[in-house]
Symmetry: C2
Subunit: 278 residues, 2 copies
């Protein structure tokens, strides 16, 4: 379904001036790469519409584009025919920063307008009005459960799978795990929403949605939008190392997602639908 | 210039199920409040245009609206006549989630379109095309410097001023400091871009721009967009507890901002324009 993805560097070498106890030095360092990705969408015979730009870490670009469009309610599973870099760009440098998603169905410009310029990470949301914030999705069904002693291990398992973090100290991550705590997919990104969209997008492209028998572990905190993305993908359990926001817990209650926070040091807090943690 | 702001709760009480060494309990907990803020803009005699929605922590809403519009290049300093909640909304609950910024000049819808749906936190950016990412601003002049032993203290000084963090463990912060390390303004928010926009917006509303003699300290990491916001406000030194991204350092180089990362435990790394740290 997806064309082979260009392998891009996800770390960038730099020279850095260090200050240690008043002493100044200089050394080589490695940063997490951040570059813009423009996401375009087209139906059969349609011109590609520019939908959004995300600042992302290269790698998993097709998953990110597909996952973003899906979790923002712009595209449904099964509607993706092809994902490809935009090969008609003259600018060689930007070519791999533009991804076009071609659908099997006409792209509904009205749907784009309703959700227009979809979202954000922890802060500013590109949606133009309060009415645009909620993506419609069914309530996640009961029927999946995970043991508390498995959940409290997920942050360490996620961290163990983070390859770029070790080199840069600067990346968010999201991972999908089975009820036994086995990792299915782990993705890293400078943007925490992107990491979530990448793991969900990978499953969408592999036609494995909804993710009714998985728990998602995320680094950092949980916002409303992360909970909503999980719910759209049908993920019943969302676990975070950090704190949830008030609206994240509200959304968890409403959308049927079990939201856990402060999952660390063998402990956790359960903020919504605690029955799934046994 | 700004009407009195409605005092809203920035923390939300919840009941939480706790798991500690296998033992299940229940207790009261406090979460950082996250609610959407819709930002509208109008010039004299114009209808208000809906520009963006940000998921934010209530408090500093007028500063946030003004700061966002400014750092995204949509409004210039001196153009803000009035900031107010939208009092014509029937929905009492949403009334304090809509802010209208009235300008002294006509609002340029083209400018809105170019920058449309401006930005994001660490991840997804609402801008529709790669060309929209850069906000034009002058390079920040040389001429401000700060001692290394002041800089390495800034994270503790920021943290000491974070009132809501202590109650929730879940908030980003940004603070402006003088060269002597005196705090001028500290703001907290679930979104790190919002915290930055609030401190800059406060200074804009007080007509104290550009912030040529200040250092900004932020919690967490530094993205491209944080550096750009600092540059638009003329802030010469940007210091972060966490890592910068590759594009954050590029932007620092290009826009004349000194970017510091891993500022902790008496140490720091300087990634661009190191001459300002003496």
């Amino acid at each position: 379904m997806a064309a082979p993805e260009q392998v891009r560097r996800n770390v960038t070498p730099v020279r850095v001036v260090t200050v240690r106890e008043g002493a100044r030095g200089e050394r080589a360092d490695t940063l997490a790469t951040e570059e813009p990705l423009e996401i375009r969408v087209q139906g059969p015979g349609q011109e590609a519409a520019r939908v959004a730009v995300t600042m992302r870490t290269p790698g998993g670009d097709f998953e990110l584009a597909a996952g973003f469009l899906f979790t923002e309610g712009l595209v449904q599973p099964g509607e993706v025919r092809r994902v490809a870099y935009c090969d008609d760009l003259d600018d060689e440098e930007q070519r791999y920063n533009v991804v076009t998603v071609t659908l099997t169905v006409p792209f509904d410009a009205e749907r784009l307008h309703r959700n227009f310029f979809a979202t954000s990470s922890c802060g500013v949301c590109g949606k133009a009005s309060l009415d645009d914030i909620t993506v419609r999705c069914p309530v996640v069904p009961i029927g999946f459960s995970v043991a508390a002693d498995v959940v409290v291990e997920l942050p360490d398992r996620l961290r163990a799978a983070q390859r770029v973090f070790d080199r840069t100290g600067g990346l968010h991550a999201a991972g999908l795990f089975t009820a036994a705590g086995e990792p299915i997919s782990v993705r890293e990104d400078v943007g925490r929403h992107n990491a979530v969209d990448k793991v969900i997008g990978e499953q969408l492209l592999a036609e494995r949605l909804p993710l009714a028998d998985m728990a998602m572990q995320v680094s950092g905190r949980v916002s409303f939008e992360i909970v909503q993305k999980a719910a759209v993908a049908g993920i019943p359990v969302l676990s975070a190392v950090g704190a949830p926001s008030s609206l994240a817990v509200d959304a968890g209650e409403r959308l049927g997602v079990t939201v856990l926070g402060f999952v660390r040091d063998g402990r956790c807090n359960i903020y919504s639908h605690p029955g799934r943690v046994v």
